[in-house]
Amino acid sequence: MSALAIETHQMTRIFGHGKEATTAVDHLDLAVPAGTIYGFLGPNGCGKSTSIRMLTGLLQPSEGDISVLGHKLPRDAEALRPQIGYMTQKFSLYDNLSVAENLDFVGEIYGFAGRRRKARTEELMRLYDLGHHRRQMAGSLSGGQKQRLSLAAATLHEPSLLFLDEPTSAVDPENRREFWEHLFDLSSNGTTILVSTHYMDEAERCHALAILEKGVKRADGPPQTLMQDMGATVIEVSGDDLRQLKQTLVQQDGILSAAQLGTRLRVLVRDQIREPQQWMRQFTGGRPLETVRPSLEDVFVVATGGRHAG
């Protein structure tokens, strides 16, 4: 499939009026191809949740056009609902219903009757390893179990488009890896997934992503491309007195950011500087230098102009 699952043009959302108005999402253009895993990467408050809520029809855009699975939003929100799944940032199932009861409820809401519902909920509990907890109240589940239950509920009706709003913010790394395995399974079955995160390693797993900051898209594309076309070279410096060196470096125009990682200093040098290693030596003296492969975090730092560097 090459069609676009999500397409927005100048999507904007302003909260409040007059002097207190804040722009949560600022003229965002998106084009998410069907069948891909697309990521929203950005710090808290960058407009990820607001964007997702507009794309699900829960919020009305202040400006701009939105088309999701061929439906114009917010006009056709109701027609879109059966085709999308939404896993909210906060656990939104019922704490005082058991795992099985929660899934049963969601099944009924989506119009699954009788045996069909039973078969589907059993399948989901098996798939997401919830069978042993079927009678346990959802409120007493662990973070990882809650997350799997939410995913099961959001995918019960086999939506062709799935929205996940920071799905892994409350789970440990082990569970995060498993969770992504499930997402890849869904994706290989043709589900388009839009996932928001502030974890770099998660963003790196996406087929493509948009880096958001203060409601503005700073960069987008596949992670590999973003890293290659970053517009900066990454040089790691090791040695002594790195704190002091960092102070010197960040004042240079040619340097985007310098962040300490243990015994090394990770420095982003702008592409305008030719022969960056040689140029660097005037500041670093005899310390060993090494040019390394850029990470998505570097991309993020470059995209946001170093404002989020450590």
């Binding site: 029809g57 109701e78 939404y86 909210t88 939104s92 019922y94 704490d95 009924e108 989506y110 009757a113």
Partner: protein, 387 residues
Amino acid sequence: MRVNAMSSLLRIRAIVSKELRQLARDRMTFGMIVMIPLMQLMLFGYAINTDVRHVPAGLLDLSQSSYSRYLTAAAEASQAVDFTRVYHSLTEAEQAITQGEVKAVLYLPADMGRRLLSHADFPGNNGYAYPSQSPVQPVGQWLVDGSDTMVAASLRALRNLPFTEVAGQAYRQPVPHLALVEYFNPEQRSAVNIVPGMLAIILTMTMIMFTAAAIVREREHGNMEFLINTPIHTIELMLGKVVPYILVGLIQVVIILLIGHLVFLVPIRGGLITLFTAALLFISASLAIGLVISTLTRTQLQAMQMTVFILMPSILLSGFMFPYDAMPEPAQWIAEALPATHFMRLIRGIILRDASLTGQTADMLWLLMFTLIGLVFASRRFKKRLD
């Protein structure tokens, strides 16, 4: 989009059974469904009494005669007052009233005997004051703390204590100028009127609060964000939320009627079908108001405050505490805008007078109207959106 009736019913059923399950697991709420009507009815059925008796009173007897002792005994025999204090001067008595020691003082002046003998009503005077040239004087005075009008009214009835016993004659029942026949509640027990009224008040409180909270709670807990993203229709959600509480309301009606009948001996004259039809109408109207509140408020605390905003006039203006007819006209208009007022009339009519529903069509239509307007307003206001 066309609504598929089958899946629509399935969705309503899903909400209903979920709601019932949650209710059954929420022990506190479940307990309150039963305990609120039980406790409040027991408490108020006993406590609320408009028939004022045993008011603490003082005695200032300057006459110290057999007449004064007879008159005091007659006052106490009425059970309206208990003489708990004795005073020796007028200033002392006045101070006692100001301090709140007593609600009233019976002041019998030193010349009480003379006043009594010359009084027109004294046996033997045959309605003539003696000596006839002097103006008729009362024999004593009730000094009353009039701030509580209900207490004052009952003391007013003690103005005409019979003189027969004072004169040493057998008590004669005075013949009233007009006879009074009490058709209903001949024993004049307050509980007979209070219990059906409590039905309206308790239902107003629980029904409005439960529905309002039921929807607002989902919003507070974040469940709503998931729910409004599903294909569920607003009206399905509303109906699904309301139906379980109709059941709750009916349970409360049964509890109140049982206690009212068994403990407070309230006669239930009307037919049960008539009674439950009226109750159902009122429950629906209250639930609809609860839904409206849920669309106007964001938190359970706000919903609670709004419920009290409706509850207070329902208690004070609906005719529960004070007679509707005694209120000024604007207050009556406000009362008409409360479902409780209409139900109060309906239910007292049905329980106490076996009034038929056909005679109270207007009140029933009002309740029906509240329900419909509430439902339409709530489902229009409720948006499957977060903004």
